[in-house]
Symmetry: C2
């Protein structure tokens, strides 16, 4: 072991050849006599040589590194996404530099600036602030948005058909006989929420009903207990809904906590349908009826779209994936109408 790690030069002199040949052996970029090759590997072994990606990156102008910026790594959706993005990247020989914007536009900007300075070859971003996305687009750094997108911002993105997803959840509840279906969402400033709420609104309209959003819509924000409290209040009101559609992982958490706090059982007292990701660690207690975001496909598509840009071989198109409904035990047929007493359906 040397005090300073061995360089390609050390390897070359140890093997009694030139650095060019060592480099070519390492990269397989030209034919080398087997004997020479072997000498190189022997020298590498003896010196404990390990390549220097930094120097290589500087020289080649590419870093074989990509950035992944999520808005909340503690959210299982992003944890699963990160896991699969990393796997796909590693398969391509890429490292992942990781950032957690914590839903802060300022923090997101810091992270993106740092990734730019690091000269990552591309960035997969679950965006928070439109201005940051526009700034990156201006810098021409390959960028793929995931989960959310922005109106009027022309960046390749991978999203879920949230309008359809919300309909899926709504239809399930409607078919079970529910007519008073409340929603819990994650904030109307997000493209995802807008699409999902529109899906619910349209689903109501299809049945000739105007969705009473002031009464039946709860904003759970991205943290805190606003959603939980809102739900408790709604369920305590005289005209309580018979079903709840939670339009995201966080809204699901808010809903479950609200029900728990209000001692409202599910599906006995109210039916619940969630929206988000499935993961062994997520909601192990009971199987919840939910609209499943195809997160693995999202990860794979994000990486693919990014490499399409990096390799510039294919015109880049955005992707919209379809969610899947999966029935669980948190939803059940409507038992009794709310206003008039009657027999079972």
């Amino acid at each position: 072991m040397l005090a300073n790690p061995a360089t390609i030069k050390d390897v070359a002199s140890r093997a009694g050849i030139s650095v060019a040949t060592v480099s070519h052996v390492l990269n397989g970029t030209r034919k080398v006599r087997v004997e020479t090759r072997d000498r190189v590997f022997a020298a590498i072994e003896e010196l404990g040589y390990s390549g220097h990606s930094i120097a290589r990156s500087l020289r080649r102008g590419r870093t074989a590194t990509l950035g992944l910026v999520v808005s909340d790594i503690e959210n299982p959706f992003f944890a699963v996404l990160a896991s699969h993005v990393q796997r796909a990247a590693l398969k391509k020989g890429y490292q992942v530099i990781f950032g957690n914007s914590e839903e802060s536009g300022e923090r997101e900007r810091e992270i993106l600036d740092a990734l730019g300075a690091q000269r990552v070859d591309g960035i997969i971003l679950a965006p928070v602030a439109q201005a940051n996305v526009e700034a990156m687009a201006r810098r021409r750094i390959p960028l793929t948005l995931v989960n959310r997108r922005f109106e009027g911002v022309d960046a390749p993105h991978v999203i879920v058909d949230d309008h359809a997803g919300a309909s899926l959840g709504f239809d399930h509840l409607w078919t079970l006989g529910h007519r008073e279906i409340a929603i819990v969402h994650g904030g109307m400033q997000h493209s995802t929420t807008l699409a999902r709420v529109a899906g619910v609104r349209d689903a109501y309209r299809q049945r000739g009903i105007v969705f009473d959003e002031t009464r039946l819509s709860i904003d759970a924000g991205r943290s805190g207990d606003a959603g939980e409290a809102g739900l408790v209040a709604l369920m305590a009101s005289r005209q309580r809904p018979s079903a709840i559609l939670a339009l995201g992982n966080w809204p699901m958490v808010a809903a479950i906590r609200g029900l728990h706090r209000g001692l409202i059982r599910c599906p006995d007292d109210v039916s619940l349908v969630g929206y988000g990701v499935t993961s062994p660690y997520w909601m192990p207690a009971s199987s919840i009826s939910m609209v499943e975001q195809p997160v693995i496909q999202m990860a794979d598509a994000s990486v693919r779209l990014l490499f399409d840009q990096i390799e510039k071989v294919v015109p880049v198109e955005s992707v919209m994936l379809q969610p899947l409904f999966s029935a669980g035990e948190s939803s059940a047929p409507l038992k009794r109408p709310l206003r008039r007493a009657s027999g079972k359906p």
Copy 2:
């Protein structure tokens, strides 16, 4: 906007001064006339210059980057750890390169090799394979182990007092009157499991009881449904325990699923105590009695220990943090003896 991003040289010529001065302005490494400074910033603005961390790293021999390798990012423990490590690193101006070993020693080695080649300034590792840790130690890359450690491997580590943690959980159940306490663990090959099981064993012994490990101990592994199935079987046996101590996040998942599958209610039919991390997304349905790993402190301590090594200013010591017991609704006083048949509760 230029085709190629501006370099420090472009800035220098634009400002009509030398690259040395630009560099010094950027780094604040020597006094520069205010007027010159301003010209530099103006040029930077005009050219949209952004530093080149790669070139800087090559020259300085440090990358301002650290590696974080966890064994399962989908496990909320590591998701929360990653979140806080990243926050602490960013505060020091460091980027985080992220790896997920997925409990595979081979994959861990690949990731560590890549981090070495990237010349990260240090690595925080939730280790899988002892050999990899020894290899890194030999390369003298600053390394902090987190969560697990290895006997006989002298690397700074941040662990939890798992022996005490397990006792805490056991004591809670014992005080409630439980005498037949089963455990679900994550695999005896891990230092954490060993310490936790030893804690249970010693707690039993303190009460003059020999822990019947062949009967009351279930290995949930790190995935699959072995733990779930084992628990179902145990609970169906004629001598079923009155309480379960799940010694980790994954064992908790296995236990909860097993109980759910066996239609065993908690705490009515059996008391459950968990062991792991609290996070808003984790177990929102019910408040589970659990031994809480102080994950934020662990993240902070890991980063601190790593910088102690990088900056070589302080002799590095390992850290053992104390877990905290938090009572929830999943455990209750023992209701009735187990041996004699009885009617429904």
